[in-house]
Symmetry: C2
Amino acid sequence: MNLTTLETPCLILDKKKLKNNIQRISKRMATLGVNLRPHGKSAKNIDAMRMALEGQEGGITVSTLKEAEYYFEQGIKDIVYAVGIAPVKLPRILRLIKQGAEITLLLDSTQQVRFVAEAAVKEGITLPVLIELDCDGHRSGVTLEDDSLIAIGTLLHETQGVSLKGVLTHAGESYQCRSTEAMTAMAEQERSCAVACAEALRHAGLPCPVVSVGSTPTANFAEDLSGVTEVRAGVYMFYDLVMAGLGVCREEDIAVSVLASVIGHQKRKGWVITDAGWMALSRDRGTAAQPIDQGYGRVCGVDGAPLKDLIVSGANQEHGIVSDRNGEAISWESCDIGTLVRILPNHACATSAMYDRYHVVDASEEIVDTWYRVNGW
Amino acid sequence: MNLTTLETPCLILDKKKLKNNIQRISKRMATLGVNLRPHGKSAKNIDAMRMALEGQEGGITVSTLKEAEYYFEQGIKDIVYAVGIAPVKLPRILRLIKQGAEITLLLDSTQQVRFVAEAAVKEGITLPVLIELDCDGHRSGVTLEDDSLIAIGTLLHETQGVSLKGVLTHAGESYQCRSTEAMTAMAEQERSCAVACAEALRHAGLPCPVVSVGSTPTANFAEDLSGVTEVRAGVYMFYDLVMAGLGVCREEDIAVSVLASVIGHQKRKGWVITDAGWMALSRDRGTAAQPIDQGYGRVCGVDGAPLKDLIVSGANQEHGIVSDRNGEAISWESCDIGTLVRILPNHACATSAMYDRYHVVDASEEIVDTWYRVNGW
């Protein structure tokens, strides 16, 4: 079975690239002396996560309760649910805990402490909780300057049903960095924010064993992680064009691609039409704001090698429009109808989410496995 | 069971709005004297399609073979697969035809005629084919000026295994129109292109019984459809913010919404954080180029009524950032953690694709049904 036997569009995962990407970050984290807590939101698959957990202590991060349930069923117990908690999520979390999962929650308000504690007390359990920190203005979390940091910490420490486990932050703004220096600086900003907040809690007499930071760019460029106990990252397993555009990886490190068929030509316009539209590629246009705009994806041959400067310049639901970025002529004889191409995604998490499985190859065009994804909530 | 019993994020479909939207276009088409061939790519669900087929002759349009197989299993025989054909798609199509489906193919090259005919002859069948026309430079298709129109038509007519059924076009550029007049003009451009090509084929002695046009904007604004035999449209069933921004529908006609929970606040910034990020809303930013940019969606209360000028101004994978479009203060007491909101999508097809089911309500907050979607390929 090789790629030519597959129906298009479908999702291809190169196991050799996946392994290289995983080993590179695992080694970095070992050198920096911190545990890696891989994020299950990118792969949404146990095989990839098992590879990522090699040499680590075993904990993972998730973005949905469906991921938590799936990974727990597959034998992973130590799970951080890294999205702020709402009451509607508690019944499933409590059910998982009763089954033996060790779920750590995230919150950034005293209101959340109260309803989490109330639910836990009813079940006769204690829920470990991390306080979410805002290190870069990206989305949620409290800052060192907020009075609420100590207030939340104190309430967590003093309230039955919850226990203060530490702090967590995510430098999401690292995706907006435009240089290696900016990413290194962002990694230090992420680290120093988390460490300062942990120290403020300890200074107030509160425990803070866990200091959790992470994003793929900062994991790649952090030079010092003193005071940090764990790093979370997910998309580093696959990488994508946004990460390549940032300089976090090379285009040839990208482990996922969409296999598509040529279904037509508009020769006067220099367009090749494929069956991979935005439904197959996602609507993510993450490279639009980068120096090199890759459209809806970079077009490669079935062997994975880039084809000149071809990109997916436009996308309808089930149609992709491929053209040369610089307006160079298309070599029409090489893209007959039925020709297979592989398209590198802007954002691996978004593109992979359009599929229920990976067709796994191992540095060749031979399919060696099928790995399923846990989509939804 | 009402909306408060659901876990978030999830997809809500208002059956009453769906019915109204369907009836409005069905009546328009009846008045204009053409059959409606609803497109199954938006709903991807048989219940919605059965409503859309009421009063019609029964044919539908699909964008994937998975849709074709699903709708056929549900009893619909007459199916146009409205994406240019590639060899890899033929085995499944031939299998469906042997089971009794009447699948019509689409193509725009003589190369496609040849491989389709060859496959059909091997199976001892004849495949009906439409020639794809390019009426607006949007993507695929031949024009009246192309020599290939008559060449493809002649080859289809003279080759064993295929039969020339007619012409098909889609005015995809109608989504870029900025006024009612522009959409009316685009509808006439779509019609006149299709009719002129049909007449050119007939003038060359070729049959052309089917003249198929369609898009939701042109279906709404066509004033005359003389010479057209059928109109295809899909998103008119649900509508969305892009269509409302075009003036094709009102915001209150939008039948699908994403139910989300408030999971946090960033009060200094005027942000409400919800659990509906881009995974729940899609990455579609179709209103970004419109006069009113709706971000990742318009925020309503659980009753479906818009909340002031709140939009989803930013989205991470599982976090949505809600803020006031005009920077007005948020009424914090109305959006406590756990509060439910409903978010209207930019693009109903893209947002619905992130879910495997609709929770169906009927002009209230009571859930009356669960309808499943056929995603994938």
